[in-house]
C-alpha cells in the first residue's frame, strides 16, 4: 500500500512502493495495447491538469492516462487562468478543488509547489515536474522501460548524461535507480554536476568516453540553450564535441546497451540522429510506457485511504 495520497517525488517513496507502481503499470500496458484502450476504473472522478509551465508531452500523457481510466479531464493552463490576474497559487488550487477535482496534476517552475498544495488540499496531488526538484512519473516510466528491456534494474550500470544540476528528470531518476539497486554514474561538465551529489552514492565522470565505458543504460538529458548565457558552458558546439552521444562513444558501452531520452531531443547536440533512431534507442517506447505508468499512479493513489 502507498503511504500518501500524493505523489510528490521519488525521494518520498520506498522501494516497495516503486515496485508497486511498476507492477501495476505492467497491467495497464496490456490495456493500452488493446483495440479498446479504455477501462472504467475511475469513472466519475475528475482530473485537473494544472500546468504553470508549458508542456505538451507530459500534459498529453497525463490527459490520455486519465481518459483511459475514464476520468473527466480539464486542462487548466496558465495564460487563460486567473493566475495572471494575481491570484495566489493556493487560491487557484482551492478553486480547482472546489470545482470537484479528485486529481490535481501539477507542473510549476518553483521547487516544492506540489508539496505546498499537498498539505492544503484533499485531492491527490501528482507532481508533473517542480522546478529543479523532481519529475517522479518520468523516473517511474524510465524504470519501467529499463525493467522491461533488461528484465531487472538491480546491479545495472546506468549513466545519466548532461545537465544534472538543473534537471528534475535526473534527480528523480537518481533517487529511483539507487533505491532499486542500480549503479548510477553521472556524466557532464563540472558546471552542470553539483559536487555534493556524490554523497548520494553516485559516480561522477567529466570525460564522456570514460563515463560511457561498460554501461548497460544511457540516459541522455535535454540541454537547455539558456544555460550557455549563464556561463555553464561556452557554446553548444563545444558541449556537443565533448558530451554528445555519438556512435563512437556508444560503442564503448555494453553491446546490448539501451539509450533513453525524456524528450524533446536536441538532435546533434546531446544525441546524434543515428542513435536516436537506431536499434538501441528505446525513446519512443518510453513515451508509450509513460501512459501506462501514469495510469498506474492515478489508479493506486485513488485507492489510498484518507
Amino acid at each position: 500500500m502507498l503511504n500518501s495520497k500524493d505523489l510528490l517525488g521519488i525521494k518520498e517513496l520506498s522501494k516497495e512502493e516503486i515496485y508497486l507502481f511498476l507492477d501495476t503499470a505492467a497491467g495497464f500496458k496490456d490495456v493500452i495495447g488493446r483495440d479498446i484502450k479504455k477501462v472504467p476504473a475511475l469513472r466519475g472522478k475528475t482530473t485537473v491538469n494544472l500546468f504553470f509551465e508549458p508542456s505538451t508531452r507530459t500534459r498529453t500523457s497525463f490527459e490520455l492516462a486519465a481518459k483511459r481510466l475514464s476520468t473527466d479531464v480539464i486542462n487548466f493552463s496558465v495564460p487563460t487562468s486567473s493566475v495572471v490576474k494575481g491570484e495566489s497559487l493556493i487560491d487557484t488550487a482551492l478553486t480547482v478543488q472546489a470545482l470537484g477535482a479528485d486529481f490535481i496534476i501539477i507542473r510549476h517552475s518553483s521547487s516544492g509547489v506540489p508539496h505546498l498544495l499537498g498539505t492544503k488540499i484533499k485531492a491527490s496531488v501528482i507532481n508533473a515536474g517542480d522546478g529543479t526538484n523532481e519529475h517522479p512519473t518520468q523516473a517511474l516510466l524510465d524504470a519501467f522501460t529499463i525493467k522491461e528491456k533488461k528484465g531487472k534494474i538491480e546491479g545495472l550500470e546506468i549513466a545519466v548524461v548532461g545537465d544534472i544540476a538543473h534537471s528534475r528528470v535526473a534527480k528523480s531518476n537518481i533517487y529511483c535507480l539507487i533505491k532499486l539497486g542500480a549503479k548510477v554514474r553521472l556524466i557532464g561538465p563540472p558546471t552542470l554536476i553539483p559536487k555534493e551529489i556524490e554523497d548520494l552514492g553516485v559516480g561522477i565522470f567529466h570525460n564522456m568516453e570514460e563515463g560511457v565505458r561498460g554501461v548497460d543504460v544511457l540516459m541522455m538529458l535535454r540541454i537547455q540553450m539558456e544555460r550557455q548565457d549563464k556561463g555553464f558552458f561556452p557554446s553548444t558546439e563545444e558541449y556537443s564535441r565533448n558530451w554528445c552521444l555519438t556512435t563512437d562513444r556508444l560503442s564503448l558501452a555494453k553491446e546490448d546497451a539501451i539509450v533513453m531520452h525524456p524528450g524533446p531531443m536536441n538532435r546533434g547536440i546531446e544525441i546524434v540522429s543515428e542513435i536516436a533512431d537506431g536499434p538501441q534507442s528505446v525513446i519512443l517506447e518510453q513515451v508509450t510506457n509513460g501512459i501506462a505508468v501514469r495510469m498506474a499512479v492515478m489508479y493506486l493513489l485513488a485507492g489510498v485511504k484518507r
Binding site: L89, S111, G112, D130, N133, K171, P194, E196
Partner: protein, 434 residues
C-alpha cells in the same frame, strides 16, 4: 511609579556587577542599587527605601539585567505596515526583553533622508514602547550609486548607516562610505553578500539545496564581501560593523582582522547558532532567511566566535513578513525571520551549553551593541533611565507564533519548547509583565 525589585541576581558587565541585590526605581529612573552578596567585585549604594506605595517584585532566583539592545531589526514603517509597525515591533521588543532597537532603512520610502529619519523618530516617540534608533541608508534609495546625506541624517538621529538587504556592490562606493562616515563618527554596517555569486539563490548551497532542487547560496558569497569590506576598513580607517555573520569562514575572517588591529566588529543572530539548513526541508519558507541557515559546522564556528570574542554582538535581524507572503512557493517567498520574541531564550541556551557565561551573554546583548553605536545604554546606574529586564532562566514555554505580539508570525521555531524568558521589562517609565 515606584518599583522595588528585590533579591534578584543583578548583572551589569559595565560595572562588573554580578551579585544578588535590590534595585529601586522611582519616576522612571534607577534610584538605588543595593548589592548584598557579590560574586565578583563589590559595590553597594545605601539602603533601600520602604513605603507602602512601592510595587515590590520578588526577583529571588531571577536575573536582573540592563534592557537588551538590538542593533538590527526591521520595523517596516513607513511603507510596509501590513508586515509590522513601529508600535507592534517595539511591543514585540519589550516582550523579548529589549528596551532599545535600531531599525534598518529598507522601508518605503527608504530611510535615506533626514525627513524619513524624523518621521521614524517622531512616530517612535508617540507610539513606540521602547527606544528606537534609526539606521540610515548608506546610499540614496539603497541603490549603491550616490551617498545619502549621512551627516544630516546623523544630526536627525541616525546612529549607524547600512544598505541592509542590499549590499553596496560597488567597492569604490563602499570605500567612500567608510571614509566619509569617519567625519561623523558613525559605524557603517555591512550586509555582506556578493550578489553576482549568490545570484538569486534561496538557501545554503550544499547537498540539501541539491536534493530540494533549490538554488544555493555558497558561503563564499558572504565571505568575499566580508573580506572586501575588511580590506576597505583597513584602507580607510573607517568604522566597520559586519551584520548577521553566518559562516565558519566569516568568523575566521573577522577574528583575523581583529588580530591585525583593524577596526571591525561583528554580530550574529540566534538562528545561526540554533538551527541549520535542515530546517528548510519540506520547503519551510519560515526558515528562508538571508544570509541562509548554514551547516552544523558553521553553527559550531559561530558559537566558537561568540566564545572567543570574534563576534561581539547578538542581534535578531527581526524581519517580520505577512503570512500570505510566506505562503508562496519557496523561491518566491521573502527572506526573513520574526526574531524578537525568541532571541533571548535561544541565546540563554548558549549559557546552558557553556559557550558563554551569563555575564558575557548580557554583554553581547547590551553593552557591546551600545558601545558600537555610541549609545549611552546597556548598564544599570543610579540616576539613569530605568531600562531593565527581569529574566526567569528556567521558565519554559512553547513557541506559538499566534501568540507573538509582532505582526510577523514567521518563525522557524514554531512548536519548540524554549527555556528562559523575560518576566518583567521596565522601559520608558512603564512596567510590563507576563
Amino acid at each position: 511609579m515606584k518599583v522595588l525589585i528585590k533579591n534578584g541576581h543583578i548583572i551589569d558587565p559595565s560595572q562588573g556587577i554580578d551579585g544578588v541585590g535590590d534595585i529601586y526605581i522611582e519616576s522612571g529612573k534607577i534610584k538605588e542599587i543595593n548589592i548584598k552578596s557579590m560574586e565578583h567585585g563589590a559595590r553597594s549604594t545605601g539602603q533601600k527605601p520602604q513605603s507602602s506605595d512601592v510595587r515590590i517584585i520578588d526577583a529571588s532566583g531571577l536575573l536582573v539585567v540592563p534592557g537588551l539592545v538590538d542593533m538590527h531589526v526591521h520595523l517596516r514603517e513607513p511603507g510596509f505596515e501590513y508586515k509590522e509597525t513601529i508600535k507592534t515591533g517595539t511591543m514585540a521588543a519589550i516582550k523579548g526583553g529589549f528596551t532599545t532597537v535600531c531599525c534598518m532603512p529598507n522601508t518605503n520610502p527608504v530611510n535615506d533622508h533626514a525627513s524619513v529619519t524624523e518621521f521614524i523618530i517622531r512616530k517612535a516617540k508617540q507610539e513606540g514602547h521602547c527606544t528606537v534608533h534609526p539606521i540610515g541608508a548608506i546610499t540614496k534609495g539603497q541603490k549603491g550609486e550616490e551617498l545619502a546625506e549621512i551627516g544630516t541624517m546623523k544630526n536627525e538621529g541616525c546612529i549607524a548607516f547600512s544598505d541592509d538587504g542590499q549590499p553596496v556592490m560597488n567597492s569604490a562606493m563602499m570605500r567612500r562610505a567608510l571614509e566619509y562616515s569617519k567625519a561623523f563618527k558613525v559605524p557603517v554596517i555591512s550586509h555582506s553578500e556578493d550578489l553576482t555569486l549568490s545570484d538569486g539563490g534561496v538557501m545554503n548551497e550544499g547537498l540539501t539545496s541539491v536534493t530540494l532542487g533549490l538554488k544555493g547560496i555558497p558561503a563564499e558569497a558572504e565571505q568575499i564581501m566580508i573580506f572586501r569590506d575588511i580590506l576597505l576598513a583597513e584602507l580607510t580607517g573607517g568604522r566597520l560593523h559586519i551584520a548577521h555573520v553566518s559562516t565558519a569562514g566569516s568568523v575566521h575572517l573577522v577574528r583575523e582582522a581583529k588580530q591585525r588591529g583593524i577596526n571591525v566588529t561583528a554580530e550574529t543572530c540566534p538562528h545561526y547558532f540554533s538551527i541549520t539548513e535542515d530546517a528548510v526541508k519540506g520547503y519551510n519558507t519560515n526558515a528562508k532567511v538571508n544570509p541562509p541557515l548554514r551547516t552544523s559546522r558553521d553553527l559550531e564556528a559561530i558559537k566558537e566566535g561568540l566564545r572567543d570574542g570574534a563576534i561581539d554582538v547578538i542581534a535578531t535581524d527581526h524581519a517580520p513578513h505577512h503570512i500570505d507572503e510566506k505562503l508562496k512557493p519557496f523561491d518566491m517567498a521573502p527572506f526573513g525571520i520574526s526574531g524578537l520574541e525568541t532571541a533571548l531564550s535561544l541565546s540563554l541556551q548558549l549559557v546552558r551549553e557553556g559557550v558563554l557565561t551569563i555575564k558575557e551573554l548580557v554583554e553581547k546583548m547590551t553593552l557591546n551593541p551600545a558601545k558600537i553605536l555610541g549609545l549611552d545604554k546597556g548598564f544599570l546606574k543610579p540616576g539613569s533611565e530605568a531600562e531593565l529586564v527581569v529574566i526567569d532562566e528556567n521558565k519554559e514555554f512553547e513557541v506559538k507564533s499566534e501568540r507573538f505580539v509582532s505582526k510577523g508570525k514567521n518563525t522557524p521555531f514554531e512548536g519548540r519548547i524554549l527555556k528562559g524568558m523575560p518576566v518583567f521589562t521596565f522601559c520608558k517609565g512603564k512596567l510590563y509583565e507576563w
